[in-house]
Amino acid sequence: MLIHLPILQVIIPLLGAPLCLMVKGSRFVWGFTLLVSLLASMISVALLWQVEANGTLSYALGGWQAPIGIEYRIDILSAYLLLIVSCMSTIVLLGGYRSIEKEIPVSNQSYFYVAYLLCLAGLLGIVAAGDAFNVFVFLEISSLASYILIGLGKDRRALWASFQYLIVGTIGATFILIGVGYLYIMTGTLNMVDLAQRIPSVSESTTVLVAFAFLIVGVCLKLAMFPLHVWLPNAYAFAPSIVTAFLAASATKVAVYLLFRFSFGVFGIELTESILPLHEVFIGLGLAGVFAASLVAVFQQNIKRLFAYSSVAQIGYMIVGYGLDSVAGSMASLLHLFNHALMKASLFMALAAVVYRLGSVQLKDLAGLASVMPWTAAAIVIGGLSLVGVPLTVGFVSKWYLVLAALEQDLWWVALLLVVGSLLAIVYVWRIVEQMYFAPSTSGDQSDGTREAPIGLLTALWILVIANIYFGIDTRLPVGVAELAAEHIFGGRL
């Protein structure tokens, strides 16, 4: 059984998806989906434990060995991502029942769960897959599922946002496919380990460079790197709250994973470094993302959109870490992956609670929220503090490493700008805090109608909030794994 874990990780949610259609009653579907997700996360924990103990796992599907067969390959980086994705999915689902019930029409709820599981399976598959084509396949699965998930939003603009995401996402996927195709032409293999071995011998060819360009741009499109982020704010803003929470915590993280995987894992550090002034370009784009998105967030009135832009900004931090092109930078970036998943999941979960009670995420409607929904408001505060990077929250830890990584290369201006970026976070977080705590509630009906969010939602929310603090204080798990992963990926071959 243990030996089959890599495939189980992907196959369980994938098979669970159609089964959802057979389960009757929304509560049961939810329970079933949660169970599947829980299984997936337990598997991911087991996988991480195994990888830490025994090193990289390789699983040949159906017994066919690579390169002929399909390989599932779980190294420490993959295991780390699997853990993040599956656990986030589980926690979000755990609290999501009432919110889903309210935000999605009853007739569509079964489809929602199907799409959700498909998306989860796709994301897990991307990470677990050991060959490039499978990555593309799972990418498409997760993308298509997420278009559906976004389109399920009640707001009609959700459809439009979903459509735009569809166009952009498909372009990204196509680019990736083109990149993979070129690589196959040049090397005759799709297996990433083999690719990594063969590419150096053909690295002089234009084709490889073109492949690299397509792959990187495609991935950057998926991970919403500034200025390729335009699809994200609307998609996040108009999707059902739970979907936003899930996607924010997982989808972009997986895309970042792909960036690391392709550039450092497949193409290799030497090539990646030789091609481009990557270093400067990515640092520049990352910082530009931090500032542009944060500044936009400062002026946003819709909080969901505000946090969506903040996500773009946070991705900017990861890109900077990537661009630093060092163990320390990668580690900071990977650490932020984990931490950002935690903070954004908690913030969007809190917004789900707000939407559940208020039906609105406009800033002005939040006036006096703290008195009617104290727990939710407190969660937003802590999530926000984490976003800012206040000590004793996870945000602080990743920023600490990021600044250290910048200082390590004597990039003073980068360190300074990273810190300034946090200041902008303070501004937009503070606007919300002030509105919730210090503004008198605008309408009288809130006082009698509104109360604290349902207990399920709160439980999940506070698990995330506590995780935000816990991993800010006891940093061994994320820091340890991120460090291992960074060293692993920089250690050369996969």
């Binding site: 250290l404 300034v420 002030e434």
Partner: protein, 487 residues
Amino acid sequence: MELSTLLHATMFLPLVAVVGILLCRHQPNIRDGISLLAGVLVFACVLAIHRQFMSGGDVDITWVEILPGLSLSFSLESLGLLFALIAGFLWPVTTLYAIGYMRGHHEKNQTRFYVFFAIAIATVFAIAFSANLFTLFVFYEVLTLCTYPLVTHAGTDKAKQGGRVYLGILLSTSILMFLLAMITTWAIAGTLTFTSGGIFPEGTPAWLLSILLALYVFGIGKAAIMPFHRWLPAAMVAPTPVSALLHAVAVVKAGVFTLLKVCVFVFGLEVLPSLPATQWLIYLAGLTIVLASLVAMRKDNLKARLAYSTIGQLAYITLGALVATELAIVGSAMHIAMHAFGKITLFFCAGAIMVACHKTEVSQMAGLGKAMPVTMTAFLVASVSIIGLPPGGGTWSKWYLIWGSLEAGQQLMVVALLVSSLLNIAYLLPIPLQAFWGSSDTNVESSSQLKEAPMPSLIALVVTAFMTLVLFVYPNGVYDLANRING
């Protein structure tokens, strides 16, 4: 009791009190009693710590190690103990004062007030006993955040705007510069633990250390060095007990305390004078001293005037920290204590005048001496101490600061200190003097309306005023602690 238990007690007793305060929010008398009791207990703990420390007690507490080598830890050290003693003494006194003030002023949300007050105090103890810069930074930020509700207590637009300035400056300076400097320090030195003689390895380039020093000086916004001083006047929208304890003692002293710690235990007294930036920062401190006094003269609002006076006095301490001779450090440390008692008295008086006579402007206070002789006498005594004249405790700290500056060859700074003393006279003394002997042409209210503040407040301000005199006659306790900083 164990030292570590006592140390924890100072940090957790106020938090326990918070629970008690919340539980008894409907019985104001019990609630206020809990605050007071907690204050007295905490002070007893600090006293016990002091006794053990003097007999050679030492303690190291580590809560958690957040990153390898970076932990939340606490230890005992004389400067921190001095700070803790001051805060520990003044908390119950201020609580006593607040009881009179808040009731006399019919403030709303008194429970919230006492809760955040207690949290702030717990934070102050954590700051005082921090064993490394990281711990200090963490609680520095916590202090900023948990005093925000106190600053905006009134809930008016003005209060909110003041609060925004307060938070904006304190958070942005600390994150932008303090944090950056701290991470850089870590990157260079590999440790943040406070160590006598500094932590930077030999051979660290001076320009780098200069930048770091500037980042620290400006980043520690609570020290209110110009031009990052605006938060302090802005915070004066808070109720007076808050202004008194937090913005004359706890918060601002946390700032200069941090700065002192950084100067002595991160840079070290040998490194500091050799840096090119030090001299410029010293000039800046001198400029702050003089300019703050000039601005204070111009303020008619009493609390605003006191706020600017605080800015000037904080710059004294910053100056001493930067001059960084042993004597100057002693002077700075002593000034933390001396100024605390003087300025808290002044704020108490300002609040008493506000509660009893509803006067906030200096120009309205002529002739109040007849109605409020005790308050005005206390004001006078405290002013004398702030100016640095006998029989006020401020004499001794000024003595050491001037001595330290002279020793370091900072003649210009000596002049700044002297000029500031004279300016202090010009803006502080007229207030009580006019109160006693000025012609009260503006207020023709019947004398029956004017009376002393409520008794608890009165007792509190008499106690602190008396302490300024005690500290003149018996400065040895403070001096011994301050002198131990240099080992």
